[in-house]
């Protein structure tokens, strides 16, 4: 594998059980490498875009906006303004003479046309370069139109996705605390860092409903501007995928005294632990909540575990590689694979921090390779060498796996099947099973000649 690692990237790898943990990360991608990473703007877009009743206007050239049009499956139960792609399409003239006028006109036009509850204006590389005073334009539009118009400083070149997350959090903080919190129940939380992909947040909200916990704001899946404004009324912030919204949680603790806990809704242990942690937080307020939670978890596990056992028959001993956007997701996935009897041979992310990777190394089996910001060549070399059975990643990784006859599970923002919660765990197992046991692989050149029986699940008619 070393031949595939550019020398300058050597220290963005680590093998569990090898030398002492020493890994560089969160650095800029290397010129000429084909990074799977995106830009600051992408990070901001990811976090804010599911706010479904806001206008999301990209101040920049056409491409930046076109590539991000409706690319993620963040579902809304109501308005769907977020699924539109708006931009100022900066052209040569604007680059020379500035884009402020065009931005003002675009805001005017679009706010009148769509009557959004707020507008987010994203700065791109070009907007940043030509030095438009976006704050001034936004302030003017805000006073004219009577809705919050917020500039998001997300110039692509100012770092990677993480900086984008933080710009998004600062933008949301402009809304938090501006709404009326009367009527917010005492046992209520905000759900941070979930984007309601394939309706996942609805699964989680249902759990909380059964526990007796209200939800004030979804941040940001199925999100609404009004909810964000009164989010400070919630007693607790439950933060998933801490990379993207942790900063908002911290800002809210600072400004409004809202405490937060970390959560993950992926896999069994993390899902259950997250519910118990919330129950624990409210147990003085509502003494029966712990029992209700235990009852819920028991019911779900009783349904789930026999199903998992079935899938496990066929999956025991198989190998997985994980390459996802955030390191937190990787933690949960490593644990989820254990329930399927599978070993994780590679765990990596685009944007993990040093601490993330240290934690990841601690839960992975010896021999597992930890990688930051991998490129297609490294991934393919790894898939070939380790002979893994499935790669978990995003759409950009999919063809690499399939080309080589390796199974694949889409675990990025584009997924169309809910993978969170106990129901999601079953979906996950089914997905992994479907891809790992496919007969197609036996015909692939790389695996030709290998035999295997019919999967037990198939024989059992499942």
């Amino acid at each position: 594998m070393n031949t595939q690692v550019l020398e300058e990237r050597q220290d963005q790898f680590h093998t569990v059980g090898g030398s002492a943990f020493e890994m560089a990360c969160n650095r800029e991608s290397l010129a000429g490498a084909v990074s799977q990473r995106a830009c600051v703007f992408c990070g901001s877009r990811v976090v804010l875009y599911p706010i479904a009743d806001a206008l999301h206007l990209v101040h920049g050239p056409l491409g930046c906006a076109a590539y991000t049009w409706d690319i993620r499956g963040a579902l809304s139960s109501g308005p769907e303004l977020h699924r539109m792609s708006f931009c100022t399409d900066l052209r040569e003239n604007d680059v020379v003479f500035g884009g402020e006028k065009k931005l003002a006109r675009a805001l005017d036009e679009l706010i009148d046309r769509h009557s959004p509850k707020a507008a987010f204006v994203y700065s791109t590389c070009i907007a940043g370069l030509i030095g438009d005073d976006m704050d001034a334009v936004c302030a003017r539009a805000e006073s004219e139109k009577g809705i919050p118009v917020i500039a998001v400083r997300s110039e692509g070149f100012k770092g990677n996705k993480r900086e984008g997350y933080s710009a998004a959090c600062r933008a949301m903080m402009r809304l938090v605390g501006t709404g009326d919190t009367s009527g917010v129940p005492r046992v209520a939380v905000n759900l941070l860092g979930d984007y309601n992909l394939a309706g996942e947040l609805w699964i989680i909200r249902e759990y909380f409903r059964r526990m007796g916990v209200g939800v004030v704001a979804n941040v940001t899946g199925d999100g609404r501007v009004e909810d964000l404004r009164r989010a400070h009324g919630a007693a607790l912030n439950v933060v998933q995928c801490s990379g993207s919204t942790m900063e908002l949680a911290k800002m809210m603790r600072e400004a409004h005294g809202t405490p937060f806990i970390r959560a993950s809704y992926l896999g069994i242990e993390d899902m259950a632990a997250s519910l118990y942690a919330v129950a624990d937080f409210f147990k003085n307020e509502d003494p029966e909540i712990v029992d209700r939670t235990a009852c819920l978890v028991r019911e779900k596990l009783t349904a789930l575990m026999p199903r998992l056992a079935l899938y496990r028959q066929d999956l025991e001993g198989k190998k997985a590689a994980i390459y996802v956007g955030g390191a937190f997701k990787a933690f949960s996935l490593v644990k989820a694979f254990r329930h399927l009897g599978m070993r994780v041979a590679l765990a990596g992310s685009q944007t993990g921090t040093r601490e993330d990777y240290e934690e990841l190394a601690a839960i992975c089996d010896p021999g597992c390779v930890i990688v930051d910001d991998a490129n297609p060549l490294e991934l393919s070399a790894f898939l070939e060498k380790e002979d893994v059975d499935v790669l978990v990643g995003g759409v950009k990784e999919r063809p690499i796996a399939y080309k080589l006859g390796v199974g694949f599970c889409d675990h990025n923002h584009e997924r169309k099947i809910p993978l969170e919660g106990f129901e999601g765990m079953e979906n996950f197992a089914r997905e992994i099973h479907a891809t790992v046991t496919s007969p197609v692989w036996r015909f692939m050149p790389r695996r030709a000649g290998r035999t295997g029986g019919m999967p037990a699940c198939l024989e059992a008619g499942i």
């Binding site: 084909v34 491409g63 409706d70 708006f86 005017d108 950009k396 063809p399």
Partner: protein, 470 residues
Amino acid sequence: MKTGAVRVRPEPENVKHGAASLSAYASTTNACAVCAPLGASLAFRGIEGAVPYIHGSQGCATYMRRYIISHYREPMDIASSSLGEKQAVFGGGPNLKKGILNVMRKYAPSLVGVATTCLTETIGDDVPGILLEFKREFGDLGLPEIVAVSTPSYSGTHSDGWHAAVAATVETLSKASSPGSGNGVNIFPGMVSCADMEHIKDIVQDFGLAPTLLPDISETLDGPALAEYRPVPPGGTPLSSIRAMPKNLASIELGRTLSDRKTGAAVLEKRFGVERTGLGLPIGLRETDALMEALSRISGRPVPRRHLLERGRLLDAMADGHKYLAGKRVAVYGEEDLTIGLVAFLAETGAKPVLAATGGRSAGFAQAAADVCEGLAPVPEIIRGADFHEIADKAKDLSPEILIGHGKGQRTAREWGIPLVRAGFPIHDRFGAQRLSHTGYKGALQLYDRIVNALLKKTQESCSIGYGYL
């Protein structure tokens, strides 16, 4: 057969029904096209051993890769200069050089295709200058060919980027002294599917000619399963063939809006005197007839029986299906030349193209639409620089019954409750986009089947009887 060669004409002041409007809005909503470096990267992918390289910040390249991968379902590596804030201030030269060196080490490319972005154009990086320096500094390393093309998004759409990359490649590589094969023909197919490229090559070969298709993505973006991963996919136009283009018998360039532009064929004509034949994208009878006629003339051979037979089948199908399509109001959108080709074909079928929209801004678009409709159908409404808001705006009064274009019109079709027949790029919501055929008699026939079936499906689904024969 009637020739469909493109005539260069100034843009009409006021084509009947079809004043060529550019956007009246300051904002763009749901763009119909994407930016130029994407098209350049696609074109570079169609050159043997080439690695596309985006000189800009990381996000652009990653977005484009994702966009391309979702259409072709193939690996698509695009290297990037990964410019950060510092480089945005002090210039991206050092990163560009370092980036190319890294690509050389990892991919051992025969060619690196460098496309610039809005960022590097705006900060004013002198890419040709930087590359000269690079060659001076590292000339001892056995460098790959390096082709550079300027592609900020304000220079045009993805299809403009494609043509610019092709022209730049020809300009950089073609040498008069290279030997030619005697029966070689240069074909510039434009942004068509992998299946189309394969078919166009077959057609040319059937005339006993040796096509040099530039670019040729038929294998690089529709490759087989692999035993071993190949960093650069096999296939693509060989460099030696590109170098030999000046010695070929003629150049055929497909696309009616290209005639007044600096294209690969234009470069070959101007520099080496290679005859340039500009034709429409061969979709339907007349446009394909024109291609056959040109090939027949160049080769001195009659149209092979196989293609006469295919023509006959197409015509037969058009008779069988003419009533399904008669008078059907069709809105067509997408890349300029493809849109024109589709309109040309529709006009022949008896359908009524009511709207021809493109995200591009080619001046000749409206005239081309008028030309291909002449004598057969009224000229459709035209939108250049279109987005889906304007398409919807215009289409309100036109009440189209079917949409034909890339996958991004899906939401519009859904809103209107009419079928969408997918054609061109991108198609992210269906399977097998790289294998869709549009060109040649055979491709048009497949397209015809798709169109008629989409209408039949609609009829069947919206009728309570559920006819078993339609």
